[in-house]
């Protein structure tokens, strides 16, 4: 038999108060929603990463990197590891360089080589690269 003594009643009312307070809280106060911008930025960064990778993958770039002892796996892994912000920044830099149709522009070519060697710690040309070493 439960006896409704005053201690129990006090306990119940305290529990009720906590419950009611939590119910009264606005829905959004506890909500952990991912904002739309995060998704847009991420999608743009993925595109940038794909663009950088497609450049790194080109035969002339690959040949130069391999001649310097940089394996394609290393190079690709590092491009993948660029943060969204960095990938966007790099792609924006590439867009500003003069490009020439099918043939990779010299500026873009040099940029990509230096980007990868920067990331691998052989060079330090760009302010936005973090070396893995």
């Amino acid at each position: 038999m439960i006896s409704f003594n005053s201690g129990f009643m006090r306990w119940t009312s305290r529990v009720m108060m906590v419950l009611m307070a939590s119910m009264a809280m606005p829905m959004t106060a506890s909500a952990q929603m991912v904002g739309t911008e995060a998704v847009i930025d991420h999608a743009a960064a993925e595109q940038s990463r794909a663009k950088i990778l497609s450049l790194v993958n080109r035969d002339e770039v690959r040949a130069q990197l391999e001649a310097r002892g940089v394996s394609m796996e290393q190079a690709k892994a590092r491009v993948d590891a660029l943060t969204d912000e960095e990938a966007l920044q790099v792609a924006a830099q590439i867009d500003q360089l003069p490009a020439g149709g099918d043939i990779l522009g010299t500026a873009v070519f040099v940029f990509i080589i230096l980007l990868v060697t920067d990331i691998l710690g052989y060079t330090k040309v760009f302010p936005f690269t973090r070396s893995i070493r």
């Binding site: 829905m27 952990q32 929603m33 991912v34 998704v39 847009i40 595109q47 003069p98």
Partner: protein, 316 residues
């Protein structure tokens, strides 16, 4: 023509444009390199004309496109929203913000004359920013492109005190290039601009939602979902707006579709879990949020916080 319009914006804009002067000019537009599908000649006679008062090309250009997009307004009413008296002009960001305040999507076009022509061909007038003089003596001016003629290589504008101004493509390109090709359309939410690109359009609709125009943003995302049915950005945007509007059932449906199409999206999983939790279905939510946390990545912290919330609720 209004030669002094927005002259005093020069200082601001020059700062923004500094260092870009060497950008190569866009290829000249000819009737050969435009889309074959474009009609040879278009003129949107229905776009109303509001002659500009001193320096106020911004409000008058906006009034023209907003009225065309179904908003009843005039330059006088828009002036306090967009016109900066001390600069005798209007900033581009304010132009876009004013469009949003009136519940329309402000979409900036790609810097291509072909895109302007395509929008006009599909019935949408385009606000453009021109520098009518030269870089070292800038005279900024907003005008509205309402038509073109590919044979005559002319563009047709409502500009300043001219109800119908024609400029050769070359002159227009030169004056427009000096503004870094700034061009904007103002469209009703249910109408996705013809040249819209997915990510840029989602960003434009997201900005509309941030202005507090949630119903309009919802309509715009719904239209975007027809154009890009697979787009994660559109689905997350639509779900988030539905959630904010407290249409939780709709948000659940949309996030579910996002999870089905993009099973590795932390955003989709997390937001579905949070929505289910708000619907009181924490058991179900927990499975989704656990997947989100396991995926890691830059959104992992949010997913962890969601998980903690849900676990706390389950313990009660």
């Amino acid at each position: 023509m209004c030669l002094t319009c927005a002259r005093h914006l020069a200082g601001v804009l020059i700062l923004a444009l500094a260092g870009c002067a060497t950008a190569p000019p866009p290829p000249e537009l000819t009737s050969e390199n435009t889309s074959a599908a474009l009609p040879r000649k278009v003129e949107l006679d229905a776009v109303p004309y509001f002659p500009q008062e001193d320096f106020q090309c911004g409000p008058s250009a906006l009034a023209m496109v907003l009225n065309h997009a179904g908003v009843s307004t005039d330059p006088e009413a828009l002036k306090p929203e967009v016109y900066l008296p001390e600069r005798e002009g209007s900033l581009q960001v304010e132009m876009a913000a004013t469009v949003r305040r009136h519940g329309r999507v402000a979409y900036l076009l790609e810097p291509a004359l072909g895109d302007i022509l395509e929008e006009v061909a599909r019935g949408t007038p385009v606000v453009v920013l021109q520098n009518l003089v030269l870089d070292w003596y800038p005279v900024w001016h907003y005008a509205v492109v309402i038509g073109y003629d590919l044979e005559r290589k002319e563009i047709i504008l409502r500009s300043g005190r001219e109800q119908r101004q024609t400029l050769s493509f070359i002159t227009f390109q030169n004056t427009w290039a000096r503004s870094e090709h700034w061009a904007m359309v103002a469209v009703p939410p249910e109408r996705v601009p013809a040249t819209a690109q997915e990510a840029r359009y989602v960003a434009a609709v997201n900005a509309l939602g941030k202005t507090g125009k949630l119903q309009e943003a919802r309509a715009a995302y719904q239209a975007a979902a027809v154009r890009w049915p697979q787009s994660l950005g559109v689905q997350i945007g639509l779900g988030n707006v539905a959630y904010l509007l407290k249409r939780l059932d709709e948000a659940e449906q949309v996030f579910r579709r996002a999870v089905d199409g993009h099973p590795d999206s932390v955003a989709a999983l997390n937001n579905l879990a949070q929505t289910l939790s708000d619907l009181g279905r924490d058991e179900e939510a927990l499975g989704y949020v656990q997947k989100a946390v396991a995926l890691g990545g830059p959104l992992q912290d949010i997913a962890r916080a969601t998980q903690a919330d849900i676990e706390r609720k389950l313990k009660r």
